[in-house]
């Protein structure tokens, strides 16, 4: 269970960094690409799948 929370925290960290990059990114197509990384990460942090 502790490990699960550690993995969840790692996923949250990657999520925050990816969203930060998405926010700073200039090109719209790159932003959309980032969305497809952020969605599964968000679900992972929420432990939905």
């Amino acid at each position: 269970m502790l490990l699960m929370w550690i993995y969840r925290a790692i996923a949250l960290l990657i999520l925050v960094l990816t969203v930060r990059e998405l926010w700073k990114e200039e090109k719209m197509q790159m932003k959309i690409c980032a969305c497809f990384v952020v969605i599964p990460l968000l679900l992972r942090v929420l432990m939905i799948k």
Partner: protein, 384 residues
């Protein structure tokens, strides 16, 4: 003209607008998919066992599973007379519908007068809470019955990653040290004999091993399916101690028109029921396979109809070209035929236990359909 359009749509170049648009897109897709994942994970299919049926839980054999998705129901049917004991597992792989459904039909119809039968229709319960990624599998299948439509889950071959995550690059089986691909770490049928403090899937395997040890189960049958191009179908894979039993049972099945090949479990292939349960307990471990085109690599449209009817034009063509290991024509391999094979085989194996090992191992059971009854009717006739 171009400048005018650009001017009207200039807000599209606004960075804040772009970021908010992305945030909205993320939230919309996450909510929609998340809702679907969440409802699938928490869906509970009904297994309508007769009133008064003894129900145990896998967590009775390993308390750390209590309250987790690894806990599952075990239906126990005890005869008035003492005899042999049998464990039937369905749903080791939750995408192998005939294995799961055969165990459900057993749980809902079985009557035992001699010996004891344990039925576990959702051996890897967590596998029933998710789909295998990139397979486009259906999430549910519907079976019409006299009392209305019954909805069954079409799950995944593996434990839900919510329960065990992340996968290693290489899965090292305990205790053999055999190396397998990382995703096999969530495959119950690569996790036996399991570990009390191991991964989630190893703990489920450990609890099943304890169930067999504590109840002195004489015969364990694990019901599976595989793609029609897989050589090892319409067959039983058995631990070497189950050779005599399987030989007699296969001959009997052959006599009633069901061809059942026999394969002895390779001694160096670890983690499977037919190897480890035979090695680590005194049970006679047997695994049975039927053909399911819904799992195959050359299938066409993948949906609930294919899972039930087993009809697929690509497989029909493959059979004409001689690429399959099972008879396959325009009628496909319907669920009635697949469950019929499993249920007939379970009955013959249970009967053979008495022939081979003597009176004290006899199991007398009734109430289950045979192959002919299922093929001539519908699986829905045998669901409550």
């Amino acid at each position: 003209m171009k400048e005018k359009t650009s001017g009207r749509l200039s807000f599209l170049r606004n960075k804040l607008f772009q970021n908010l648009f992305c945030a909205l897109l993320i939230l919309t897709v996450a909510v929609l998919t998340g809702y679907e994942f969440y409802t699938f994970r928490h869906y509970r299919e009904e297994i309508r066992v007769p009133e008064g049926t003894e129900i145990q839980h896998l967590s009775d054999y390993l308390p750390s599973l209590k309250g987790t998705a690894g806990d599952t129901e075990i239906y126990v049917f005890r005869g008035e007379e003492k005899g042999g004991s049998l464990l039937v597992m369905g749903g080791t792989h939750a995408d192998e519908l005939a294995g799961h459904l055969s165990a459900v039909i057993m749980a809902e119809n079985l009557k035992v007068t001699r010996g004891t039968v344990f039925v576990m229709p959702r051996a890897n319960n967590s596998g029933f809470t998710n789909n295998f990624p990139q397979e486009a599998s259906p999430m549910y299948v519907e079976i019409p019955t006299a009392g209305g439509v019954r909805t069954l889950v079409y799950g995944s071959r593996a434990t839900n990653p919510v329960d065990q995550w992340p996968d290693p690059d290489l899965y090292t089986h305990f205790p053999s040290g055999q190396g397998l691909s990382g995703s096999e770490t969530r495959n119950l049928n690569r996790s036996y004999p399991g570990r009390e403090n191991g991964s989630f899937t190893e703990r489920v395997a450990f609890a099943i091993k304890n169930l067999i040890l504590e109840n002195g189960i004489d015969l364990t049958i694990d019901l599976h399916e595989a793609s029609p191009e897989y050589p090892n179908i319409n067959s039983s894979v058995l631990h070497e101690r189950a050779m005599k039993l399987s030989g007699d049972a296969s001959l009997e099945l052959n006599d009633i028109g069901i061809s059942m090949r026999m394969e002895v479990s390779p001694a160096t292939l670890h983690g499977l029921t037919h190897r480890e349960l035979g090695d680590y307990t005194n049970t006679l471990a047997v695994l049975m396979e039927t053909a399911n085109p819904c799992q195959g690599r050359i299938r066409g449209a993948t949906n609930a109809a294919l899972a039930v009817s087993g009809k697929d034009a690509c497989y029909e063509q493959a059979a004409k070209l001689g690429y399959l290991y099972v008879p396959y024509d325009e009628n496909g391999v319907p669920i009635e035929e697949r469950c019929g094979r499993h249920l007939q085989a379970v009955q013959v194996y249970a009967e053979a236990l008495g022939w081979v090992f003597g009176e004290e191992y006899t199991i007398d059971m009734s109430g289950l359909p045979g192959y002919d009854e299922l093929v001539k009717g519908s699986v829905g006739d045998w669901l409550r």
